[in-house]
Amino acid sequence: MKVLLIEDDQFFQKFYSSKLLEQQYQVATASNGEEGLTQAKSFAPDIIILDIIMPKKNGFEFLTARAADPALKKIPVIVFSTLGQDDDVKKALDLGANDFVNKGLFDFEAVKLKIAKMVK
């Protein structure tokens, strides 16, 4: 299964990408929303894990662009949330994100379950 991880923070990008690779997912990463859109089109992931606060197109802008693209719209998106981001998560879900997970909990099992739920 192919996962695109769009996350600017190197700490979280490295943690979650190595966990995904350990579990035999194919992983592509992007460090901002603009790069994420390019990767989403070329890598054609089965699912996208998306951070919200990023430079060069944030998560909201990515979701808006995704909603306007018939091919990208079909790819489920799980947003990464963190402390104090309840409003951001709600906004992301309103913009079409399918689910969210708190990246700060380091709960990779929760991430795996959500991926499995999204991609049957």
């Binding site: 979280f12 606060i53 402390l83 700060g104 380091f106």
Partner: protein, 126 residues
Amino acid sequence: MDNDVAKYKDLFITTAKDYCTQIIQALSTLSTNPQATQAIDAVHLSSHSLKSQNAAMGFSSSAEMFMTIEKIFAKIQEQSAHISSELLTEIKNCIDDFSYSLAQIQHNNQEQDMSAHTEKLQTFNR
């Protein structure tokens, strides 16, 4: 400190130091140009990342401090708050003490208490 968290301590310290450097550089820009958008965005983004990383590692006092800085700079981005030299000085003090805290974390996993800084920062977040 549980297994995954302990394994990523070095990565946390390295990336946290990078973000601190970015904040310091942005503060320097803002001291002469308080309208500099890129510098304002840099402080917002870096403090957001430091909040998340510290929360993930269980360093809640630091996470709260950086969340406060993030909120202040979100208001500055929306132009509902402004940069002052007092704010810049306080953030510099926060980074100095956080850098000391990182050194303590590296040695003995002991986070320093940042609550006094959070309290002081709250006076800028009204």
